[in-house]
């Protein structure tokens, strides 16, 4: 990204340049004082803080989907719970970066918890001994409270979630639940975490074309920002009345359960299929058993 602001004078040397604020073009620019002070040349402080906090995290999994309501939060919770249950020495954390519609507190069953602040940072909510959760839902006074923020403010909040939460001893997995779309929240998370390595994305979809349409955009997002795609998950494939059978595969244990539209879709877009989670396996009408 260029370090020249969009509204900079014609021959702006760029805010990171050695000569920032000192060129003849800088005369009369409202930012001349700031540039010449050298403050703009320092490293991004927020990114440094995130690095300090999360550098030791081995795996960072982004749960993405262009479309809303496909089960990102449900999948995140199942994935995190499975990861945590498999090995009690494994530390798992969830960060809910959906600021306008946080669902993780409900999905994890910790709706009325409060975040506490200590010298070492915010204490997340522990769902299990080795499973911690941070969500903006814990910071809102009432469930009616809306977070009506534009991008930059959301960016600030996400940076705080990534840098100021005290996750305790070293984390093995950091699972990030995202809002639908390819915008501020996603860019912020990727910007902060990409430098640390170990970041990969799991893309969630439902079988309908209208969902796949948005999911293709998410894949193109991952390609543009350079995030590795760990796999695609097709949710709500079939429906089982009342009862549901949940079979979960994680990207580590490559297992193909179903060869369906999704697979041809994955081939078409050239994504390696790492695993498929099939939720609610069959639809049986409770009355006529069809």
């Amino acid at each position: 990204m260029s370090d020249k602001p969009d509204d900079a004078p014609a021959h702006c040397p760029g805010t990171q340049s050695e000569t920032a604020g000192k060129e003849s073009a800088c005369q009369g620019c409202p930012n001349q004082g700031l540039c010449s002070s050298g403050a703009t040349r320092g490293p991004d402080l927020g990114a440094e803080l995130v690095k300090g906090r999360l550098a030791s995290v081995k795996h960072k999994l982004l749960v993405l989907s262009g479309k809303g309501g496909v089960g990102k939060s449900t999948f995140t919770s199942l994935l995190a719970r499975t990861l945590a249950a498999e090995d009690s020495n494994r530390n798992v954390a969830i960060v809910d970066v959906d600021l306008c519609g946080p669902s993780m507190p409900r999905v994890m069953g910790v709706l009325d918890e409060q975040i506490h602040h200590s010298g070492s940072g915010w204490s997340p909510i522990y769902v299990e001994d080795n499973l911690a959760l941070m969500s903006i839902g814990f910071l809102l006074a009432s469930p009616d409270d809306a977070v009506i923020w534009r991008g930059p403010k959301k960016n600030g909040m996400i940076q705080q979630f990534l840098s100021e939460v005290d996750w305790g001893e070293s984390l093995d997995f950091l699972v990030l639940d995202t809002p639908p779309g390819t915008s501020d929240e996603h860019l912020s998370v990727v910007n902060y975490l990409k430098q640390l390595g170990g970041l990969s994305a799991i893309i969630l979809t439902t079988p309908q074309e209208v969902a796949l349409l948005d999911v293709r955009k998410e894949i193109s997002f991952c390609r543009k920002v350079g995030v590795k795609i760990a796999g695609i998950v097709e949710n709500m494939s079939l429906f089982l009345g009342g009862l549901s059978a949940i079979i979960l595969t994680t990207p580590q244990e490559v297992a193909l359960l179903d060869v369906r539209k999704e697979i041809s879709f994955c081939r078409k877009v050239g994504v390696k299929i790492a695993g498929i989670v099939e939720n609610m396996s069959l639809f049986v009408c409770p009355k006529c058993k069809k």
Partner: protein, 262 residues
């Protein structure tokens, strides 16, 4: 801005995937069936679904001296559609924009489109309460905005997000036309028995809690998704979905007796 538009209706929901776009298109198609001239504006920049739902993918936007010409669904020019989907070269292209760029795009949509005479402009929004919503709200405030229809599904997890959207409307002073509960049960095609896949009644209890009108419950109806570009009122007029849309449209249009039907 938006000269010639008589009524603006926003379709909102805090939650994604609850059927905002489907409700928007059915509403637009239904209003068109009733003889109104309708505009449909898709401000979901990152995930535009309207072109797909109306089978208009691949159409292009043209410019004329008065502004951008929206895409019309048929010869009668009774339904005009605008979406960022028409501006993308490839349907796989993702739009990776931060807020200010999305804001600028929506402002262009609101100010530079030549809608001509439109009785109702339906605005389909993305999930959330952020840049897109703030921009639309700021710009339509001074215009003849009827209000917002909130779409929800019955689950608590959707209701929670919709409550936030209600607060958004209250804080920003957008009147709430009512709540629609979508996907409230699946009617088995072989025995007509209704299964509440995602529980039921959430929308109604929310509307009672928030003291706003409840507009009806829409079941999961494969017929709607089979031909999303056609009005359910026309294709299967006896279905529950059609009845609910009819009553919503009656509600909307009877409040404004000033509109002359063409």
């Amino acid at each position: 801005m938006l000269d010639g538009v008589k009524h603006i209706i926003l379709v909102l929901s805090g939650k994604g995937g609850v059927g905002k776009s489907t409700v928007s298109t059915q509403l637009a198609l239904g209003l068109k069936e009733s003889g109104f001239k309708v505009g449909l504006l898709d401000v979901d920049i990152c995930g535009p679904s309207i072109p797909y739902l109306l089978k208009l993918e691949g159409h292009e936007i043209h410019k004329c001296p008065e502004g951008w010409v929206p895409v019309y669904t048929d010869e009668d020019k009774a339904l005009a559609v605008m979406s960022i989907g028409f501006l993308l070269k490839d349907r796989n292209d993702g739009i990776v924009w931060r807020g200010p760029k999305k804001t600028a795009m929506i402002k262009t949509f609101l100010s530079d489109i030549y809608w001509q005479d439109v009785d109702y402009l339906i605005v389909d929004t993305p999930p959330g309460t952020s840049d897109e919503h703030i921009t639309v709200m700021e710009n339509v405030k001074s215009l003849p905005c009827d209000g917002a229809i909130l779409v929800t599904t019955p689950q608590a997890v959707a209701i929670e997000d919709v409550r936030k959207e209600l607060t958004f409307c209250r804080k920003t002073g957008i009147p709430i036309l009512g709540i629609v509960e979508n996907m409230s049960g699946f009617v088995c095609p072989s025995c007509q028995d209704c299964t509440n896949i995602f529980s039921s009644g959430g929308g109604r209890s929310l509307s009672e809690l928030a003291n706003v009108p409840f507009l009806g419950t829409l079941p999961i109806d494969p017929n709607v998704s089979k031909s999303p570009e056609q009005s359910i009122i026309k294709t299967i007029p006896d279905s529950q979905t059609a009845t609910v849309f009819k009553s919503i449209i009656e509600n909307l249009t009877s409040q404004k007796p000033t509109v002359s039907e063409s």
